[in-house]
């Protein structure tokens, strides 16, 4: 292919990309934000972060092995299915926490007279990374992987993380009044 052929294809791809971006951007949002939910109704994230150890325990291979040793194969399958459902529900709730926090941060950014590009970039990067991670995890769980867990060495790290998340959430909880203040400014 000559250089013009490559140029031709690149430009066509660029135009298709611009068109797709335009269509996506003009499509109405289907989430709560678009439905006109007042900001006051959006809870400040909390609760779900504390259940990480239990969730990882639910994926623990030893638990399933124990059930399998005491009951029949059908019981093992039922427990496995139930636990998968619970973990998927937990991940969904975590996504809800993440999105609520993200939305509050965006609204603060929009209503601020000056914003820091580095912080905005960081939040965009985190949201892309979270979406990708969430998609891969839920896909993996839905197709039946990741049901058995190895928690060796993770216990301490997890409790430390849980404490940090709880602290951050508590601090944010103290700012729940801010959400009302922002909503009245909108």
């Amino acid at each position: 292919m000559n250089s013009f052929g490559i140029y031709f294809i690149l430009i066509v791809i660029a135009v298709a990309g611009v068109g797709a971006l335009l269509l996506w951007s003009l499509r109405p949002r289907k989430d709560r934000a678009a439905a006109g939910v007042p900001l006051e109704e959006i809870e400040v994230p909390g609760g779900h972060a504390t259940y990480l150890p239990q969730m990882l325990q639910a994926l623990h291979a030893a638990d399933l092995a124990f059930v399998a040793s005491r009951g029949d194969a059908a019981l093992g399958r039922t427990v496995k299915r139930e636990r998968r459902r619970v973990v998927l529900g937990y991940l969904e709730a975590m996504r809800g926490d993440f999105e609520r926090l993200l939305r509050l941060a965006r609204v603060i950014a929009v209503l601020s007279p000056e914003i820091a590009p580095a912080q905005e970039w960081e939040r965009l990067r985190l949201s892309i990374w979270f979406s990708l991670n969430y998609f891969l995890l839920t896909t993996r769980l839905r197709i039946g992987f990741g049901i058995a867990a190895q928690l060796n060495g993770l216990g301490l790290e997890i409790s430390d993380l849980t404490m940090r998340v709880e602290r951050a959430m508590q601090e944010l909880g103290e700012r729940a009044a801010l959400a009302t203040e922002i909503a009245s400014a909108l």
Partner: protein
């Protein structure tokens, strides 16, 4: 000029003139001075070039210089008109506006440089390449504006929404049209002209559609927060988001043998 071309050219002029008069009668030129100027410049270009081409024909050096020279002015006016839409959409939000215009302006310049750099700038095709690059830059920045507004949940009201979409679609069609012209040059020249005029006619109709509703009073400016709320809260929120992300990534440490 063939009769079909003449008809569309006349239609183009008429709808532009009607739209401009309509906007002035509604005093929209106060709210959209750059857009109204763009329409006026475009009208003037159409009339001047038609007069010139009828005297000297399409393929003279004077026609070429005048054609592309005036096109540069029209493109610059279009950039300003698009910038005006940016200001209407984001201008009320001081912080986001400061970030947005730099980001989208940078995107536009980057696209223009890339398109011109890859396309080569020899004398004959170089003008078409620059024209193509600037239109692609306008299209990318306009689509970027809508994406930016969606990300920050800034509502894009009418007529800005339809106006912006029309600018973007017109620039996309212009780029594809220029691309074919660049490839086929003289053989495509007549079709290029016709396609350009039809696309412009559709765009002017969309702009007219954008202003169909009676003019509403300006949305009041939002009350902005104190700057230290952002400075104190956002890094903390980003840390919380990072913690949630980290929490999710712990699931990847879970070994997953086939069971």
């Amino acid at each position: 000029m063939a009769s079909a071309e003449k008809t569309i050219w006349l239609l183009d002029l008429c709808v532009q003139l009607v739209l401009l008069m309509f906007l002035v009668s509604r005093r929209e030129h106060r709210r959209f001075p750059a857009f109204c100027s763009y329409l006026a410049i475009n009208l003037l270009q159409g009339i001047t070039l038609a007069a010139l081409f009828s005297v000297s024909g399409f393929v003279t050096r004077a026609a070429w210089i005048m054609g592309w020279g005036s096109q540069a002015v029209v493109t610059a006016a279009r950039v300003l008109a698009v910038g005006e839409i940016f200001r209407h959409v984001l201008g009320r939000y001081q912080g986001v506006w400061a970030l947005g215009w730099r980001l989208l302006g940078g995107l536009g310049v980057l696209v223009l440089v890339a398109a011109a750099g890859f396309g080569g700038l020899d004398l004959r095709a170089g003008v078409v390449t620059l024209d193509l690059g600037s239109e692609l830059a306008i299209a990318a920045a306009t689509a970027g504006l809508f994406a930016f507004a969606k990300y920050y949940e800034v509502v894009v009201e009418e007529p800005m929404r339809t106006m912006g979409a029309a600018f973007c679609l017109y620039s996309c069609s212009y780029v594809l049209n220029d691309l074919l012209l660049k490839h086929y040059l003289v053989n495509y020249q007549n079709v290029w002209n016709l396609v350009g005029m039809v696309a412009f006619f559709a765009t002017v109709c969309l702009w007219g559609w954008a202003f169909r509703a009676p003019m509403r009073s300006e949305t009041p400016k939002p009350v902005l927060l104190q700057p230290d709320i952002y400075r104190n809260l956002i890094p903390e929120m980003n840390r919380s988001l990072a913690d949630l992300n980290e929490q999710l990534s712990h699931f990847w440490n879970v070994r997953s043998p086939r069971t």
